[in-house]
Structures are given as C-alpha cells and as structure tokens.
C-alpha cells in the first residue's frame, strides 16, 4: 500500500517536472540556506578551535583592563602592566610551568631599498617555547641577549621574503622603527589564523623592545602555562590573588587587570559563533515556511486535477484514510526531494565559501538528517489540509468532475 503510494507519488511528481521544481524552490532555498549556514558555522568553529588550541590550551593570559560590563571604564583607563608586575608574578606562582611577557607594535621594517609592515613583538625567554614556535634557520636569542636587551631579532617567513627575497637573512642588520637589529634566526611559518597573520612577525627581546622601541616598561600581556595535571582555572585564581597584592588593589575594589584561561576563551568564542549561526539559520528557516505554503498550494492543485481519480478510487472501495495518505505521501515525498536538493545546494555553497575563506569544510550528518526529516514533515504538515479536502470529497460529485 505504502509502496504503491510512493510509486504513484513519484510518477505524479516526475510527470510535472517543471511544476514540481518551481513548487520546490522555496524549500530548496530554505534548506540550502540553513545547511550552508550550519556548515560554514561549524567550519568557523572548528578553525577557531584549532587556532586557539594551537596557541596551547593550558594557558592563562593576563592583561590590563576592567571587566567588560556596561558602565565599566574603558580598557586603556586601567594601569598598564609593567615588567616589574610580571617579574613579581612569575616569582610568586608555584604551579606554573613557564611564563612569558609580551608587548607588540605594528612598525615598518626596512632593509636597503626594501620595506614591509611588520608586527614587532617584544618577548621574554620562554615565549617561543610556550608558543611552540620553532626557529628553522639560525638560532634563538640566548638568555644573556634576552636579559641585556641585545639588538637581535628573529623574523617570520613573510618578512624574510619581503626584505631579502630568496637571499639568506641571517646576520643582516635591519631597521625596525627607530631600532636597528641583527637577524639571528628565521621563524617557522605559522600561517594565518582567523585573528592574526603571524607570518609577518619580528620577535625581539622584551628588554630591547621596551628601551629602543616603546620607550617605556609596559607589558601588553602575560602568558602563564600550567604544569601538567594542574587546571588552568587554578592558575587563573592564583594569578588573580597574587596580582591583586602586587598591584595593591584594596578589598572591594575591582580588578584593573583580567586573567582569562584558554578554556574560557574557547567557550566564549564558540558560543558566540553558535548563537550567530543559529540566528542566521533561524532566519533562513523562514524560507522553509514559504516553501511549505508552496507545497500546500501544489497539493491542492493536485487534488483538484485528480478529483475524478479520487472518485474512481472511492467507488472501488478506497476509504478517506487511503485518499488522505496518498496525497500526504505525495506531498512529503515532494518536499523531501526539495529538501535533498536543498541539502546538495547548501553543501555546495558551504564548500565554496569554506574554500574562499580558508576554513575546514565540516558537513554535519546530524544537520543533514534533521533537515531531511524537517522537509518531509513540512510536506506532511502543509499537505494535510489539501489532502483532507480531497479525502472528504463526495464520491458521486468527484466522479462527475470533468
């Protein structure tokens, strides 16, 4: 019976290919939009997750600023972090494996006639290790060079290419802003992440950065990594308590610094993306409603066209339920076909988009199954009234219909 209905439905759908297709446009577009949104969204989420975990998931970041709340003072109203803060913090914390302080500025790097915009980053000794950033040629600065603030630097591949082309940059002296430094090593390519392109980085000893570029003892952020087996949340609590003392914040006063652990950052960003894609997906879903109205319309047309057929079927013993289910099956198969076409189109769009913005293509089987189910349900829901109309026809009237 069901098999018969399905075959019959397919027959009637394929008999009116163009009409079926036009009817389905709403569903196709709606499903495609939802699938594309979800797929691109999960790609972005995946990429962000990968980027953040590449930074290291056992890290806690400390920077100056008040908690972001309505009415809170702007971030730059807070006292900047200073090298002294960092040194005192590093001494006090026992559960950290490594610490680093970072300051950065966008500057022009010049070598001979060549120049390029770079991100000059002043760092302390453990920074490269924390970031798991390898030196592919040459060497990293020694502890002595770091502490004395020697005029040495490491450059990332894009900087090397811009300044030296295919020549070796090692031992060359380049100008970064007001400072001159000797290139002692080439950094491994990190590639772009969603936040930054790190391939245009120049890494300097923090000491040299502060004295010769920034002209102050400020630190932009402090990175702490937890010992194996220690929760970052604990490091964060310890750091907050220690920092309140170091910076002499009275009880009851707000922190003028923020410590964030990686899991929080990951959760926050992925939550944000999820909310965003869900919202866009919901908007796209409205098109599904319009598509459903199309299905309703075409089912009514189909019932009207086949009034006589309904009469014949009733005369030979079809009950109302038989007629109802026949048209419901037809409507739901029609909208399922629309859904499948929409899924195909949506995946194609998402695939193109992920290629374009350079994020992974992560189609969700769950979303595909869900939307197949949803589009079938649209057929059942929107096909119901016209199908019921058909089932309630008077057999004699229906047989008389021309």
């Amino acid at each position: 019976m069901l098999q018969q209905s399905v075959r019959l439905a397919l027959l009637s759908i394929t008999r009116n290919k163009l009409r079926s297709f036009l009817t389905l446009l709403g569903i196709i577009i709606g499903v495609a939009a939802v699938i594309a949104m979800l797929t691109i969204g999960s790609g972005v989420r995946e990429k962000m997750h990968a980027d953040i975990t590449a930074l290291g998931s056992n890290q806690v970041f400390v920077s100056a600023g008040y908690r972001f709340e309505p009415g809170s003072p702007p971030r730059d109203a807070a006292r900047p972090l200073a090298s002294e803060d960092y040194r005192m913090l590093a001494r006090r914390l026992v559960d950290v494996q490594a610490t680093a302080a970072v300051a950065r500025k966008s500057l022009r790097a010049i070598f001979g006639p060549n120049s390029t915009q770079v991100s000059a980053v002043g760092v302390t000794q453990d920074y490269l290790r924390i970031r798991n950033w390898k030196v592919t040629r040459g060497r990293a600065p020694t502890r002595a060079e770091m502490e004395s603030g020697a005029g040495v630097c490491l450059i990332a591949p894009a900087v090397s290419k811009a300044l030296f082309g295919s020549d070796s940059p090692l031992s060359a002296r380049i100008r970064i802003g007001q400072m001159t430094c000797t290139v002692i090593g080439l950094l491994a390519a990190k590639g772009g992440s969603l936040f930054t392109d790190e391939d245009n980085t120049v890494v300097l000893p923090l000491e040299a950065y502060q004295t010769r570029i920034a002209g102050n003892r400020h630190v932009e952020s402090i990175v702490l990594t937890a010992r194996p087996g220690i929760m970052t949340a604990r490091i964060k609590r310890e750091a907050e308590a220690a920092f309140r003392q170091i910076r002499r914040i009275a009880p009851g006063q707000d922190d003028d610094f923020q410590a964030e652990d990686m899991t929080e950052i990951i959760k926050f960003t992925t939550d944000t993306i999820s909310t965003f894609t869900a919202l866009l997906g919901a908007i796209a879903g409205i098109s599904l409603l319009v598509g459903g109205i199309g299905i309703m319309n075409i089912t009514l047309v189909s019932v009207t066209e086949r009034t006589r057929e309904i009469g014949i079927r009733m005369a030979i013993g079809a009950r109302q339920g038989n007629i109802l289910s026949q048209f419901l099956v037809e409507a739901s198969i029609l909208s399922l076909i629309g859904g499948l076409l929409g899924i195909g189109l949506g995946l194609a769009i998402a695939w193109g988009a992920t290629l374009l913005i350079g994020i992974p293509f992560v189609p969700s089987i769950f979303a595909i199954l869900c939307l197949s189910g949803v589009s079938m349900m649209i057929g059942v829901v929107f096909g119901f009234f016209p199908a019921l109309h058909g089932a309630r026809l008077d057999p004699i009237e229906a047989l008389r219909h021309e």
Binding site: M1, R319, G321
Partner: protein
C-alpha cells in the same frame, strides 16, 4: 455476510426518497421507491434523464444513502452505514463499470485492475495473479501493460469490467456501459456481461437508455419522475 443471506434479497428499497436542495429549490429525485432485486438477476434500469435512474444506481452502489426510507443490501441497512463502512462494502461486494470507463490514466491495465485489491490489503503477488486472470476473462490477455491511451474504447471498457470483477463481487453496477461505444462493440460488452451473469451468477444492475442494450437483461425497470413506471421481466430471456 450473515444468516439471512439465503433468504434476504440482494437489494431491497423500502419507500426510498432522495431529496436535493431546500425550500423552493427542493427536488425529489426519488419519490418513495420500493423494489427488490434477487441474487443472480440481471436488471436493466431505463428512463429519461432526470427520472431518478442514476440516483437509484448510486444508492444501489452504496455511493449514496437515501434521504428517507431504507436501502438494504443483503439484508443489512446499508443506508445507515457511515462513509468508511460503505467504502468497505463497495470494496468487498460491488464492482463498478462506468460509461466513460474511468480508468486511471497513465496506469497500465494490470495496475488498474489490481486497484480494488490494493484497497483490500492483498499482497502484490496475489494481486497481480488475480488481475491477470481477470484480464484473461474479459479477453485481454497480452494487454496487461498497455495504458488506457493505448487501448480502444471497447478494450478500455473490458479493462473496467475486469477491474469490477477482480474482487469477485456480489453485484456489478453498470452505468451506461455502452454509451461511448458503437453498436457492435456495445453488443460485445453486453455479451461479456451476460456471460458473467449466466456462468458465474454475478448479479448485474445496469442503467441504459438504449432499448437494444436493455434487451440483454432479464428484467427491465422503467423510471419516470422519481417513481417506478414499470417493472417487467423480459419475454424470451432466461
């Protein structure tokens, strides 16, 4: 059907009225008709259009119920049944043959004939066997996979007859079965029906306005203005 099957007539009308419209627009299509048809009879119903013969046929075929009065089918009050039960009754006991054949377009002869069995919930293999057998009975072996458009009018009407008899009904209803056919094909169809009536004891009620077609039946009932004008057995038949 039940214990009265042997004694009760196949069809019994007791003071059947059928009224359409209301107030001034009221029309009595049937005005107190009483009749009865026994199992195995071949009855022709005649009469001008608007005389009530189609209404009678619709009620006999359980497509419609009387406004008042009783319509008994095999002793049961068929007029009192709800739509679903009437559909079941049609499916089990009644086969229909229409003037315009009323086959499903773009559907093969075999599938058309199978249809009543589909609604009876019979499995595909048995359906196909019985449908092929019914087509053979009406002389259409080898045309199982033709669609109505590929068949002549006479052949289409044979497919319709096969569809009507495939479920082994008690009663066959024929509404102007030869109306769209020329005399020769018409007579062939009637010979087929008479054969089914004589050999298998299939009861037939047929509406026609052609006397030569009505002549095939054993009994002729004439309608005028919603009433029976005459009801007579035909001489020389049966």
């Amino acid at each position: 059907m039940n214990a009265v099957l042997d004694t009760a007539p196949l069809i019994r009308f007791e003071q059947v009225w059928k009224t359409y419209g209301e107030g001034d627009m009221r029309v009595d299509a049937l005005a107190g008709v009483s009749l009865s048809v026994e199992s195995g009879e071949f009855v022709a119903i005649m009469g001008p259009s608007g005389s009530g013969k189609s209404t009678t046929l619709n009620i006999i075929g359980c497509l419609d119920a009387p406004t008042s009065g009783t319509h008994r089918f095999l002793g049961d009050d068929a007029g009192a049944l709800d739509r679903g039960r009437r559909a079941g009754l049609r499916n089990m006991h009644i086969g229909f043959v229409f003037q315009g054949y009323n086959l499903l377009p773009r559907t093969t002869a075999l599938e058309n004939v199978e249809l009543p069995l589909v609604y009876r919930g019979i499995k595909a293999r048995e359906r196909r066997e019985r449908a092929a057998q019914a087509l053979a009975e009406v002389g259409l072996s080898g045309r199982e996979h033709h669609t109505p458009a590929q068949l002549s009018g006479g052949q289409q009407q044979r497919v319709a007859i096969a569809r009507a008899i495939v479920s082994k009904p008690t009663l066959l209803i024929a509404d102007e079965p030869t109306g769209n056919l020329d005399t020769r094909r018409g007579h062939e169809i009637l010979e087929l029906l008479t054969g089914l009536n004589r050999q298998q004891g299939l009861s037939i009620v047929m509406v026609t306005h052609e006397p030569d077609i009505a002549a095939f039946a054993q009994r002729e009932i004439g309608f005028v203005d919603g009433c029976i004008a005459y009801d007579r057995a035909r001489a020389g038949v049966s």
